[in-house]
């Protein structure tokens, strides 16, 4: 446990000093996205990596959060913090209700059902023009405020987003090492065995689905307030795939892995501007190759790979 805490402290310190090193550069802005993506990837990993339940609709929950915050604050003038909490609670409850029938499904069927769910949300974002502004987007979303501090520049937003991200990471680490985390991993390995051991797998899966959706919603609200403008394309099927790719790169069931995955997939398109449109090909390749050759992801796969290479190297030497 002490080592876990140490790792987290190191992460927190790195997060705290990074902006000082990059001061003024647009990279701070990129790191804000890394934070939001980390929240989403960690949330998805709780479901996908720990409970072993796939969701191809998480971009939809992200979008629900963004639109709920945008509409409640901009159209109805409700306090942003209140709107954020209301959105997260409402979407968690919605996910809890949908979770019972949807998580009865397994494997491919679950994938298709969550994909359908995500696309239904996407269609609503596009078609409910009166509420959402439709395909042309929703603008004029206010920044968040605490007292006299308005989160209106990159540095302040960086602090805000990463505070939420670190809390998400810490809570998820705690959850992973708790009785619930162990029960979830048991469901992942064999649901029947878990149930025999007295795990209420059905309820637990639904709860983790609701939690995961709730965190994604929160990330969506933060995204809306940071950007000030949202449009449906940010919440489509491709983004759900991007999130899955982040989780797979880092490794299923590894919280820090999701952070690494989110970091890589957010930095990569920035570093290689030329392949803007072609990032989807890279994601496809990553998904196939990682699943085939490095199913543990980078976090668990690379040390394993090194361990395998080392003895061979010595023999040669």
């Amino acid at each position: 446990m002490k080592r876990e805490l140490l790792k987290f402290l190191i992460l927190a310190i790195v997060v705290a000093i990074l902006p000082a090193l990059l001061s003024g550069s647009y990279l701070v802005n990129v790191l804000i996205f890394v934070g939001i993506h980390t929240m989403l990837a960690v949330a998805l990993n709780l479901l996908l990596g720990f409970a072993g339940q796939i969701s191809l609709g998480h971009a939809g929950f992200f979008g629900l959060g963004a639109y709920a915050s945008a509409i409640l604050t901009t159209t109805y003038g409700i306090n942003p913090w209140l709107a954020m909490v209301a959105a997260a609670v409402a979407v968690s409850l919605l996910a809890f209700a949908i979770g019972f029938p949807i998580l009865k499904l397994k494997g491919h069927y679950l994938a298709m059902a969550t994909l359908g769910l995500g696309i239904i949300f996407f269609i609503i974002f596009n078609e409910a023009v009166d509420l959402t502004g439709g395909p042309s987007g929703f603008s004029g979303i206010p920044n968040l405020k605490i007292g006299s501090i308005t989160f209106d520049n990159d540095l302040k937003n960086y602090a805000l987003i990463w505070l939420f991200t670190l809390v998400t990471v810490l809570l998820s680490l705690n959850l992973a090492n708790s009785r619930i985390g162990r029960a979830l991993r048991a469901i992942h390995d064999s649901e029947v065995a878990a149930r025999v051991m007295g795990v209420n797998s059905r309820l637990l899966k639904v709860q983790i689905f609701a939690l995961s959706a709730g965190i994604s919603t929160l990330a969506g609200s933060l995204y809306a307030h940071t950007m000030g403008f949202i449009s449906p394309t940010s919440f489509g099927f491709n983004f759900s795939i991007e999130l899955i790719t982040m989780v797979i790169i880092g490794g299923l069931g590894s919280i820090y892995g999701s952070l690494i995955g989110a970091f890589i997939l957010t930095i990569l398109p920035e570093a290689l501007r030329t392949f803007q449109d072609y990032d989807i090909i890279i994601y496809g390749l990553i998904l196939i190759l990682m699943t085939m050759f490095l199913p543990g992801g980078l976090v668990r796969g690379v040390p394993g790979l090194l361990a395998r290479l080392r003895p061979a190297g010595r023999q040669e030497g």
């Binding site: 491919h108 696309i119 239904i120 989807i280 196939i288």
Partner: protein
Amino acid sequence: MQISDQLTQYLFSGFATGAIYALIGLGFAIIYNATGIINFAQGEFVMLGGMFTVSLITTAGLHPGVAVPCAIILTTVVGILFERLAIRPLKSATPLSLVIITIGGSILIRGIAMLVWDKDTHALPGFSGDEPIEIFGATLMPQHLWIFAVTIVVIGMSKLFFSYTISGKAMRACSYNSRAASLIGIDVRRMVLFSFIISSAMGSLAGIIIAPLTMTSYDVGIMIGIKGFCAAIIGGMSSGFGTVLGGLILGVLESMGAGLVSSGYKDAIAFVILLLILFIRPQGLFKKAETERV
């Protein structure tokens, strides 16, 4: 136009898109029955069929009668490559990794299509011109008749194949129990390859005959693919009439919904039906709950 004429119109256009969904759904069902995999790349075969045909006709200047078979063959080659490179190497993969691999394959194919062609929408001329015909007060394109004819022929042929040929019977045996099938000397892996060949050919054909009506582009695969899956789910994943009926039901509901309720939400209809069926009757509408499909 009278309301009855309107309804006939919706019915006919619903049947036409429904026939397409049926063909795609059959592709899903055939692979599922042979392997237990839902092939998320099925919709990409549909897209490839349409795009290859457009390219062969407009760029290479081939006659449609030559271009169509060539497009089907090219798509089938992609299907074979996909099976060989991504599916066969996985011997004991979990359903989760199989889902992720076929999704990866699907977006890879889509991405490459975007690279090879472009992001534009392409039109394909109708096989027999674009002069509308009037039947029972409804206005149809000649292409609608092509769709009906091709679908009936393909479904008839696949029925004959699965009922009367050795390979077809062997594939059915695999779908009932692949271990037992391998024990009596059926090469299960070859049957898996066959299933990919048949469903990529069927998918591409569906993509080719619908292209003159709806146009085609690199990203049409996902929507139409899931609708085909929806047809297969309504039909209980049967590789026979259940799925065909499922496709027709979906097609008609969609065109009625678009005409009478709202065209913007047309696409949502299929997904709502998909979720309802999965929640309430995952074994499909026409089947008793005999096998666990979920």
